[in-house]
Amino acid sequence: MNRSISWMKYMALAAGLVLVLSGCGAAGNSSSAVQASGGEQTGQAEGGNLTYALATSPDTLDPHRSGLAVTVRAIRTIYDNLVVQLPDGSIKPWLAKEWSVSADGKSYTFKLREDVKFHDGTPFNAEAVKFNLDRVIDPATKAANSLALIRPYTSSDVIDEYTIKVNLEQPSQAFLGNLSQALLGIVSPAAAKKYGDQLGKNPVGTGPYTFVKWDENADIVVAKNKDYNWAPETVENKGAPHIDTITFKIVPEEATRIGSVQSKQVLAAETVPPQNIAALKSDPNQQLLQANTVGLPYTLFFNLRKAPWDDVKVRQAVQSAVDVESIVKTLYLGNYERAWSALSPGILGYDASLEGSIHPDINKANQLLDEQGWVKGADGIREKDGQKLTLRYVDGSPNREKRNDIAAIIQQQLKQVGIAVEVEITKDIATVIYQNWDYDLYGNSQVNSDPNALFAFYHTSAEGERPTLSGLSDPKIDKLLEQGAVETDPDKRVDIYNHIQQYLIEQAVILPIYVFPYTVAASKSVEGIKFDSLGYPLFNDVRIQP
């Protein structure tokens, strides 16, 4: 009997331990006391906590140092920008009231709002803007994607407390649009100096929400900025947000993310898998919000530096052999749009005439490869001079948006015409792609507000600079890209970019695959989630109905 009692004693002890430990965990989180079903806590449509499930964890909340799109969902709430871009591409005031461009296009003079304060009380002024812009180009900041956005910025001069002159190395039509991007959000100079490389854990901006806490791998909490009064034109509510807090929960597993919306543990969840979209649409308690992202669609880039992919006919053979339509239909069940061009619809200069321009044609593919001397061997794979026709397909994500499945289908489709596809999936893109250039086909996409984004992918790379993904080097295209960057007449710009897009498809430099829609599943009680011109969510107008 003694023994069974001691057994029970240990079990009870262990059970107690579990309770204590789980209690510890709970205590640590209790500052987020507002529970998931925030809507129930208030009687009216003011207040409440929006729980919003993110698919991946932000890397840092320092906008200048972040390299991830997911970060923008969170930092958009904390930081504001100098200007805002509307869906039609026009640029409107935000923290800058007005601006003028010098005749040579190389300097911008911004008049700033005078009533803005950072969350830590630091006044917003020309000095703060100068500090921010200089911070991005300072190597010590280790700026990531923001550095690419701020180019060709060189310096700025403070004219008076609320006027700043920003100087560029050369004119850029993309510059203003880039200033609207969240990664160039304005951070508090005082906080940046105080926290250094830990600003990402202690973010301070001028945005509609102030940072509360970030529990790694659990959640990020932001609270209403009561003093907020300078929202941009993209939202209706110019003042402080209607809701009290937003809790961004980090939920990487998609079934769990969707499950937590359905079980009402969170009010909204991003990136709904295509197979769940139909079910959510028919659910009376849920709504599905969708915004196509703007920039470069998911595109497969040939590495033109490597034979035989430097041969346009071989590339065209692949272009004819790959049935993009059926890939996109099979994998995304009609919920993603197929991409036709190097740019996505909705961006300035998008060439809609390319839609429907390419049809899968196996005979043409075979014929092209025959012409180039690639003969099918005994194993069905084409050979030339004892060399097998193999294509090294590198994918850098663990099946994000089913990209690994695209690789698998293309492998099957190209087998039909005698091309062997080796698929390599690796997280280590830095080495495989950017250091060793060890790929024939590699997919990438980019969120961007200006067609000048094409420059980084197709302009001949300068000596010592990072080579482009495509390795394209064509003086004609270089010239067009350079013109596109500085052309001030919008109609001429559209022409220029139409030309470039047509060339890229005719020369089969790329295989555009799909336009990524940002999808959000939300409870019907949530109103007013909006999306900016790039497809990122805005929470200024959100109300939670009880």
Binding site: E216, N217, V251, Y434
Partner: protein, 310 residues
Amino acid sequence: MVQTILTRLATSLLVIFGASVLVYCIMYLLPGDPVLLMLDPSSATPEMIQNLRVQLGLDQPFYIQFAHYFGDMLRGDFGKSMINSDPVLPKILEHFPATLALTALSSIIAITIGITLGVLSAIHRNGVIDFIARLVGLFGISMPTFWTGILLILLFSVQLGWFPAMGSDGFSSLVLPAATLGIVGAGFIVRMVRNSMLEVVNEPFIVALRAKGLTERTIMYVHALRNALIPAVTVIGMLIGDLLAGTVVVETVFSRQGIGRIIADALMAKDLPVVQGVVFFTAIIYVVLNLLVDISYAYIDPRVRRAVRT
């Protein structure tokens, strides 16, 4: 006894050292440059890359890097994350309670279900209970953890709404992840206990006990079970180690905080100091667990105790 424990402690330290050397070598030899991962390849200049490499000590020879690393570990300095400059040890200690709670509750579930079903199925061999127990055993062993987890979410949070689907806020969010791991663990224990019970039941001392006129209940639950538990304890000890490791999957599926999530993220980002720190830390826990299992043998089985004494 004391001497044995001291010897075991010494070998344990050796194991920990070996583990740290191994992890260090693997991470060192893996292709890919952590510096390039930290900096954006599109905007970093060669000087920036070189400066950071020197700053991190990555320009020095292997053995010096290792000596620094191991010396710092011994002083309790596990280094800083390469991604966000967080110190590693506080990060592990902050997240460890969540993992420990998960492991503890899943062990309780696994042990309770495992031993109960294992004993019952051995006693009622080939009966309905035996059938159920074997089914549970098979299910627990063969189902992938993440699949079990998602099934539990669909049933208990989406359909029934009893437990949260994710998070690490308090006891209710612990239930489903612990059940997921507990089911896996129970599968192993059921099989182990059932088999060893069946073996023990046929041993002569059980016949002797029957002849002495003890009730069948006493024979089974006191004498047979105690003997059958010895191999089960080994399995349970190993299982708790497995559960600690299994939290990688479960913590991701249920979006819980914990050291499983830390190491999964760190591996993805090739954050060397964090990976090494977590592995070093878990190696210590494994070794301590093993030590405890060995000591508990002596407690359960007098033969072991006697052997240890001599």
